[in-house]
């Protein structure tokens, strides 16, 4: 027997202070098990010295009655009264307000159904990548349509101002990802729009053919558009310090075109 089994046997002795012969031989030759046997004996002594808590006054009488009673040992457990549950309260509330709640639920369903119709439809089938629509392309077509509908030079002037803004914004957003040639194209388009669109339409609004109030309106329009061109130049110029070197030339071209257009418009506004 090893020490572990000796020690286990000591623990299950009725009285660890009285060791049987089979264990005594080992313990006599083993310091570890001797210590263990001494601690087990001491523990047993201490446990015997612990005070016993007093029993309830009539406990003895109750136990004796139970043991001597003629009834079955197994007694049916006491029925616990049902606690009021949340589910019960909720059902009661629903029942009392079923008309209102039904209407509200229908309204929520209608809203959710409408939302699912308004928002883009779900994911395409696996493996089929959709080509997204090009917002900038749509914007340019819309500008063309506006020009097709415009009746007066001032309307066309405003549309070209918007088109110039679209192009300068697109150039800034493409500055870090497009090739230098692509950016240069956008810069060239911007220059064309400013010269052949904005400035040309402004020339179609000569001041000497207008009444005094119309002249004031013309000046206001030209100054406003000059201000927008100045704004485009400033934003684009700010970006030239933040983009790759080969993008700078295109952005600088936009800055120069915008400034030239602004100068021309202010001259025309003041000459009127």
């Amino acid at each position: 027997m090893n020490c572990q089994s000796i020690q286990n046997k000591i623990l299950i002795l009725p009285d660890p202070r009285v060791l049987p012969d089979a264990l005594r031989d080992h313990i006599a030759g083993c310091e570890v098990c001797q210590t263990w046997a001494k601690q087990a004996a001491r523990l047993d002594t201490l446990l015997q010295q612990l005070p016993v808590p007093p029993a309830p006054g009539n406990k003895k009488a109750t136990v004796v009655d139970d043991l001597t009673r003629g009834n079955p040992v197994i007694i049916r457990p006491l029925a616990i009264p049902a606690r009021k549950s949340f589910a019960g309260s909720a059902l009661k509330f629903l029942d009392q307000n079923k008309t209102v709640i039904g209407g509200l639920a229908a309204a929520v369903l209608v809203v959710l159904g409408g939302w699912s119709l308004l928002t883009p439809s779900g994911t395409p089938p696996v493996g089929v990548a959709e080509t997204p629509e090009h917002p900038f392309l749509k914007m340019i077509v819309q500008r063309d349509l506006a020009l097709a509908k415009a009746k007066k030079p001032v309307e066309r002037l405003q549309i070209f101002g918007g088109l110039a803004e679209d192009l300068s914004t697109e150039a800034r957003s493409l500055a870090r990802v497009a090739s230098p040639e692509e950016l240069w194209d956008v810069a060239q388009w911007f220059d064309n729009v400013v010269k052949d669109g904005v400035v040309n339409q402004a020339r179609n609004m000569p001041a000497d053919t207008l009444t005094l109030s119309a002249q004031r309106e013309r000046k206001t329009e030209l100054d406003a558009l000059a201000g927008k061109l100045s704004d485009m130049a400033a934003k684009t110029e700010k970006m030239t310090g933040e983009v790759p070197p080969d993008a700078k030339a295109a952005l600088q071209k936009i800055v120069d075109s915008a400034r030239a257009g602004e100068k021309k418009l202010r001259e025309m506004a003041n000459a009127g």
Binding site: N97, V100, I101, L104, A107, V108, V111, L112, G114, W115, L118, T119, E130, T131, P132, E133, H134, P135, F136, L137, K138, I140, V141, R143, D144, L145, L147, A148, K149, A150, R156, I159, F160, L163, L167, E170, S173, L174, R176, V177, A178, E182, D185, W189, N192, V193, D196, G197, N200, Q201
Partner: protein
């Protein structure tokens, strides 16, 4: 209690509606660059069409320029179909439909009101209308009727809308 529930649901409904009105999220930069690359030539043509539209000083000239703009979009549609890109074909078809409906047709009608029979510009009006009608009639032949593009319901719907505009052009 009832009033609180009604208020809560009304709030939820309004919030849902307001959320659906918001602008679409911006495209990732790489997608934006790719789309620009694909549409680069088309964009250049459209900007030039805009400048020419502004120079057009009559409904007839604007109608002719709108016809050219629509034809430019149709040419790009054909190239997108060759590239087997049904989404792009559908997108360009929709834009072409917008140009015909909102640009070409109104200007043709305005020109019709201005130019009476016997007017020197009457033959030109007839010519513009003929060319526009031919462009719309010939469109389906330029788009495959099978394969990825031809089988796309989006493409079929978009082409059908354009074809329906033939009647709006009036008789040449």
């Amino acid at each position: 209690m009832r009033r609180s529930l009604v208020t809560l649901v009304a709030f939820i409904a309004l919030a849902a509606w307001a959320g659906a009105q918001g602008p679409p999220p911006p495209l990732p930069a790489a997608t934006q660059a790719k789309l620009f690359k694909n549409n680069r030539k088309l964009l250049e043509n459209l900007v030039n069409h805009g400048i020419e539209l502004a120079k057009a000083d009559s409904p007839l000239r604007r109608a002719e320029e709108c016809r050219k703009t629509a034809k430019t979009l149709a040419n790009s549609m054909e190239r997108a179909a060759e590239d087997q890109d049904p989404d792009r074909v559908a997108e360009l078809a929709r834009l072409m439909g917008d140009v015909v409906r909102e640009g070409l047709v109104p200007n043709l009608n305005a020109a019709q009101l201005e130019i009476k029979p016997g007017d020197p510009l009457a033959p030109q009006l007839v010519k513009v209308r003929e060319l526009a009608t031919d462009d719309l009639i010939s469109l389906p032949a330029r788009i495959p009727t099978d394969g990825k593009v031809g089988d796309s319901q989006k493409v079929k719907d978009a082409i059908a809308v354009i074809q329906a505009l033939q009647g709006s052009l009036g008789k040449p």
